[in-house]
Amino acid sequence: MIIRHVEPSDTKGGFRCGVPALDTFFSKRAWTQHNKDDANRVYVLVDEASGEVLGFYTLCAKEVARSRLEGIVSRSAPPHPLGVFYIGYFAVAESHQGRGLGRRLMADALRRCVEAADTIAAVGVFLDSLDDDSTAFYHRLGFVDIPRAPGAPEGGPQPMFLPMTVIRAARPVPP
């Protein structure tokens, strides 16, 4: 198995993860966003022998900002938006779930974030978890829930964050 940038042929293989929105993104928009729009970098986990896409994730840079509508700003609030890496889509093929492939993808994503943070400042990794199983997985890695906005749709995505300092501290100590 290898993890590499998405290629056009990857998106035509009928990838299915069980979440229609993720499947549609992968088949319809992943290549364009990766190759043309530069809106996301799309990484795929591929079985080299068969060419089957086993999973994928996307990475991009975003900034986290405080809503400008609220007048009271806590003293600790930084004056400027803070840069983060954002894992927008993260999926493992339905037929390969439960094999630890999500771990493999996340390990790759976090390593890329650590390396990219040497070039582009970012305070951590942000994502939106779509279901309870995913949230439990991210919690085990140390991702912390960010409170949803009041009035946010019930059952909607759960924002989660992992600081870069924590990811760096988890790296293995060189021998």
């Binding site: 900002a65 509508l69 609030a77 927008g88 960010i146 906005a149 009041p150 749709p153 600081p163 924590v166």
Partner: protein, 119 residues
């Protein structure tokens, strides 16, 4: 999820249980059916997207105009097109707290990063 089968028809199929439950609850509350719920949701979301695309914010207030809260979702953030994740005061303060007092890495994260750097 929706797919366009012709310019005059849009078929939808929602299969994940939480979304089906939410839609069912809303239909019961509003006394409406699938198509009207979809039209109503589309009306609201279309309006929200057009507002954020012109730089405006979607907010709710009480009758006196106090305590405004802003609606922010990944899709609306994407529609805003500025790659910004907007958090309300409570969420932003929690975000800052996590940054200022980071936890120790979990053993699971240490194991994961060991795998990442072993490759």
């Amino acid at each position: 999820m929706a797919r366009s089968t012709s310019p005059r028809r849009l078929d939808t199929s929602v299969t994940d249980a939480p979304t089906v439950e939410r839609a069912t609850r809303l239909m019961r509350t509003l006394g409406t059916g699938n198509a009207d719920l979809y039209r109503g949701a589309l009306d609201v979301f279309d309006w929200c997207v057009r507002q954020v695309q012109t730089g405006r914010h979607i907010m709710a207030t009480d009758e006196s105009g106090h305590a405004p809260i802003e609606l922010s979702t990944p899709l609306l953030d994407a529609a805003r097109g500025d790659n910004r994740i907007t958090l309300d005061a409570e969420a932003f303060d929690e975000f800052v707290r996590i940054l200022e007092r980071p936890a120790e890495p979990t053993q699971t994260l240490r194991d994961l990063m060991a795998e990442a750097y072993a490759e």
